[in-house]
Point group: C2
Chain length 338, copies 2
């Protein structure tokens, strides 16, 4: 069976919300956030509790914008980068929604959107939700060094976004419509540098996007944008080169959320943004509104995740990566799909 | 929409495998494992890599027993207790199956089976797989103390199983059939003692099992066993009492995998077994074969998970828990269900 599933009913993303932090507000997409938190603690007493607040805000905003309450949601898919996904579980516990925890590292928003779409398309849920987040301060101390240590960052390292995205999928006659999705495979080409996630993840994006093109017969020119999650400068260059080797040009319409979120000249972010909240907030804050408004017609959203942990990386392991893909469109039907 | 989904086609669990360690072999279920590993490193150089081997073995045994190869699998759902679920990602990366990572702590086998069943029932996969694991040595050093420290364990603490379970769901005319499932909600009644997970998780099991009874109109007497994952002595007592308050007796047919896996008198396990691999291996090693053989006709499998991390627990947070449920049967249709 093909890893690409085309939707039978093309459900819509009926609501979406993006939450950010101070640095995200200062970047080029600052105006696209629904809410900005200048305080990295979000009025709690720890960064981890702060990250949970990001998810809580994202869910509440997405519900509010569609005049929904938590009881209207049949299933919520959520996850994040924190050990045991506590950003999510503590962020959403008060909502008492049926909940399925997912873990795809920075591909989590694509995995959640994919599962929410399949649930609604097969009438397993009338309204399904997805949420994810990341937080610079929680990620630094969990994956790298305590902030107080003031460690140097390598040129290939990326900046974890303090951000969250959330969305609601349901049947509707308003775009954006979900037209299809591709479930990714784990790809590991042996990159073991945890400060160069982009290089580790690019082959996974290549694998999944290629599978989508093969399964559907569509080509890059069928899309306004081919959006990756957080490959950053290094990973994006590798992805475009991998496609060029196959004589496929995605350079003209490739966008990477990690390269859009911050200003490279002004914000000292090295190779770009990263984290579950990077792809999540750029999808929910920037791309989904433009699809709804008709400013763009078709995108592939292929977020990528590096499925390692500091423990096994320190034991010398390379970094297995994955990418899940969702095809979002302004139209319910479009020529080119089979 | 109800949180309980009844299957339209009642797919089967066509293959299953249980892998264990030395202590699991010495317990009352020792003979039910497909493979035992006396070496806690499983011939690797770290406990974490050893845990990945547990999952690899479980997947390979489940495939072999049905004469399947990895290419036959349309989607694999997997997760475990390790930070970033690396037991799974490193265990299954070589198989190159479409993969969706899940996180439900010790409820992971129920979540994976639930998703695999829904995917097959809705023709999103012809063959879907689920896998999970836990390992005493990786869990101790990640959640509690380094083994070398020789810390004392409290009377309510549980023993993390060194075990893995894996299964394949597909359409078939051979039992066990999956008849339905209930997606759980996060429940947090304020228990914050990380050495008393059973007490934290029992209310989640109560919530999900009650929801199933309400949604279907079925009662405990419709089932040979109501199986929980790893509530242990303390959590099992609380679960039975919570039902008794509602005038429902589950005491006569309640079984807890955490109370079945080890010998309380001989094996010094305090309140019982725990870990994703506990429910996973007891389901795949003990209950599924008995359902296939017709020795038992109907069970509810309701694994529970504690969705905390040491970090937030040390910050004073209580323990949110969840339970997902799957109804397994020797018959495709049965009176009593609506």
């Amino acid at each position: 069976m093909k890893a690409t599933k085309l939707m039978k009913t093309s459900p819509s993303v009926i609501s979406f919300a993006a939450i950010g932090g101070k640095k995200e507000n200062e970047g080029p997409l600052g105006d696209y956030f629904d809410k900005i938190n200048d305080d990295p603690y979000l009025s709690t007493d720890s960064f981890e509790k702060g990250e949970s607040q990001l998810q809580k805000q994202a869910v509440l905003h997405a519900l509010d914008k569609a005049a929904l309450s938590p009881e209207d949601i049949d299933v919520l898919f959520g996850g994040d980068l924190l050990n045991q996904c506590v950003g999510t579980t503590y962020g959403v516990r008060a909502f008492e929604m049926p909940f399925l925890g997912i873990y795809g590292a920075c591909s989590t928003m694509a995995e959640g959107l994919l599962l929410a779409s399949l649930f609604v398309d097969n009438d397993l849920a009338k309204k399904a939700m997805a949420v994810t987040s990341s937080h610079f301060c929680t990620a630094e101390r969990q994956y790298r060094f305590p902030l107080n240590y003031g460690g140097q960052r390598t040129p290939t390292s990326q900046w974890t976004a303090t951000a969250s995205g959330s969305l609601v999928v349901a049947p509707s006659d308003k775009p954006p419509y979900i037209r299809g999705c591709t479930i990714g495979k784990i790809v590991d080409l042996g990159v073991s540098d945890a400060n160069n996630m982009g290089a580790a993840m690019a082959p996974a994006a290549f694998s999944t996007i290629s599978t989508f093109f093969t399964d559907t017969g569509m080509t890059p020119s069928d899309f306004d944008y081919i959006v990756t999650g957080d490959l950053g400068k290094v990973g994006s260059r590798i992805l475009c080169e991998l496609f060029e080797r196959e004589n496929i040009n995605i350079r003209d319409n490739h966008k990477d959320c990690g390269m859009m979120l911050y200003d490279f000249d002004e914000q000292d972010i090295h190779a770009g943004g990263s984290g579950c909240g990077c792809a999540g907030s750029v999808l929910c804050g920037y791309f989904l509104p433009k699809l709804r408004a008709g400013e763009i017609k078709n995108i592939l959203f292929a977020a990528t995740g590096a499925l390692m942990s500091p423990t096994v990386n320190q034991q010398g392991e390379s970094i297995p990566s994955i990418s899940h893909l969702v095809w979002l469109s302004g139209e319910k039907d479009m020529k080119g799909a089979n």
